[in-house]
Point group: C5
Chain length 156, copies 5
């Protein structure tokens, strides 16, 4: 029985977990999904840690929302370092979905970014968990993006 963790925050302005969970359920119907909600992005690493270490999750998707100020970006940096340290300690993938408040002026646009990014990265996690290190190799260097249009590969 495979367990997959989903970490989200009350700070976020879109319920991204809903979309991530939909994708995971569709592609891994037998997986057990464990959700963990924390206040903000700096609380995400400990939640991911507990899902992996205490609950035995094989992989985690985290859904963060970052404010527009410089200190918010520093919080993002601290979270990113923490999640990377946790991954190299445990060997488990933690796919980090982050939406930045300043990615778009229009809130409706932010929703689109958030949903698309959550869906596509949930699929990335599923594929890595199901098919391993070469699951995404056919897309290597293809210039894929999540939440925004993919520029695609540069054709020399």
């Amino acid at each position: 029985m495979i367990k997959i963790g989903v970490v989200d925050t009350t700070f976020a302005r879109v319920d991204m977990a809903r979309y991530a969970i939909e994708v995971i359920k569709e592609h891994m119907p037998n997986a057990v999904i464990l959700r963990y909600t924390v206040p903000g992005i700096k609380d995400i690493p400990v939640a991911a840690r507990n899902l992996i270490i205490e609950e035995g999750c094989s992989g985690v998707i985290t859904l963060g929302w970052v404010g527009a100020k410089t200190v918010d970006k520093y919080s993002y940096l601290a979270m990113s370092i923490g999640l990377i340290m946790l991954q190299i300690t445990t060997g488990k993938h933690i796919i980090d979905v982050t939406v930045h408040e300043d990615e778009a002026d229009d809130p409706k646009k932010l929703v689109e970014i958030a949903i698309d990014r959550a869906r596509k990265h949930a699929l990335n996690l599923v594929n890595i968990l199901k098919y391993g290190r070469e699951a995404l190799t056919r897309y290597a260097g293809k210039g894929l993006r999540q939440g925004v249009p993919s520029p695609g590969p540069i054709i020399p």
Copy 2:
């Protein structure tokens, strides 16, 4: 018997611990609250560490105050990295309340931010400790803030 740690500083200009402790006592009257006061934010991680490792606290709330200069923000970043590393080492939540001196020009406004943020994050900590990883899930993606007005979720 559950122990909860409260870390604060002499640098801060508001006694935030008082408000955090009020909330914890109200919602967890049987909890033992251990307070640890340090000079400034860079001293907070070792205090949180000692409360968790030496004193057996199940969770910690830290109450930091950050100056307006670039180096103050770097100190904030270092503290944040330290608290995250400590959390992923111990598995214990350390809810980090931070007030930035440049969040408001009016000192009275800073007091309001500090008190509200301390109270709301104390409640966040209480809820996670009492009800676990889904305690806050009903608020996931709801755009909650502490100390400033909550923008709420984006309605697509």
Copy 3:
């Protein structure tokens, strides 16, 4: 039997791994090359970790692509810290090839940078793995670059 890891991303806009693998195969025809593709640069450290710890790779080359925004640079910083921590934990070289979207306005130029950098750093990795700590000493202080023209040593 020596194993060499190659980590790349779907975010990158050039299939740099192809060029790195060509070079490795040419200079170490008996090496087993293990490829690991992840979504973006923040996923690179765990892939490198798994190639070293789980698969027994003696060295890894990582092929990252970094956006032009400030937060992309913070992601680059987090990845770099992670790769360095992993290297000082394992003692294995992880040669980090990174192309920054803002290194050139012309996409064709970016392709040239990417290919040259991947090739030259693949050769660096090969030489360190084959000949050890003094393999590159004859080039020490020679002002070598990858992907851009080498300024060469300063002649006093």
Copy 4:
């Protein structure tokens, strides 16, 4: 027998250790003071580590001096992260006194800052070592500063 470490640098332009040691001797006449001098701030963490791990110091005060350039501030950040990681590994307080070259234009003012900061933080360290986690609690939220005037608490 309690041992206290004092780390300073040849980069600093004021012999801050002299003032820190005066304060420690005055308040803890039986303490053994071990001094460790290094070139610059990036060498401070290993000195603090050796004083704690090899020499058995119960606490350390570090006296750093930081240049005005951006890279100097990055060195400050790296040092701060290192000292915090060391503290959460050992549980020992390392009170970090830092003077920034750009805190004042007048060198005489820098001397005043350095001496006052070294003295006051030496006293902070003494109090924490002698009286524990609540030694400073009576000053919590009081807006205390070292080297510059204390703004004091905000009176709502």
Copy 5:
């Protein structure tokens, strides 16, 4: 038999190791010097690690060269964090000589900086290794610099 490590890069535009080695040989004629050359500054920490852990070096001097761009400075920050973490793990001094491409417009000036800095820090390392934690104490607070003129102590 004492072993001393010297790490340098092919990226650097001056053969700083030559000058560092000269100084070490002059002051510690019986020391065994182990050299390790890597492509760039982000590869320095693993080389220093291998010299300490695998080869048994008692101390290391690293000779880095940093580009002028913001991302180069982030690489510098990542390297600095790595070297500090390695030092607090091993207890061995790693004296970090860094020349920044933007320290001078005139390449001849950069050579002067590089040579002087390498020499003076090699001597710092030698003195710490030979005479221990108080070797440099007579210069504490003396405002010493390497590669640029020393401002000296501030005379109050």
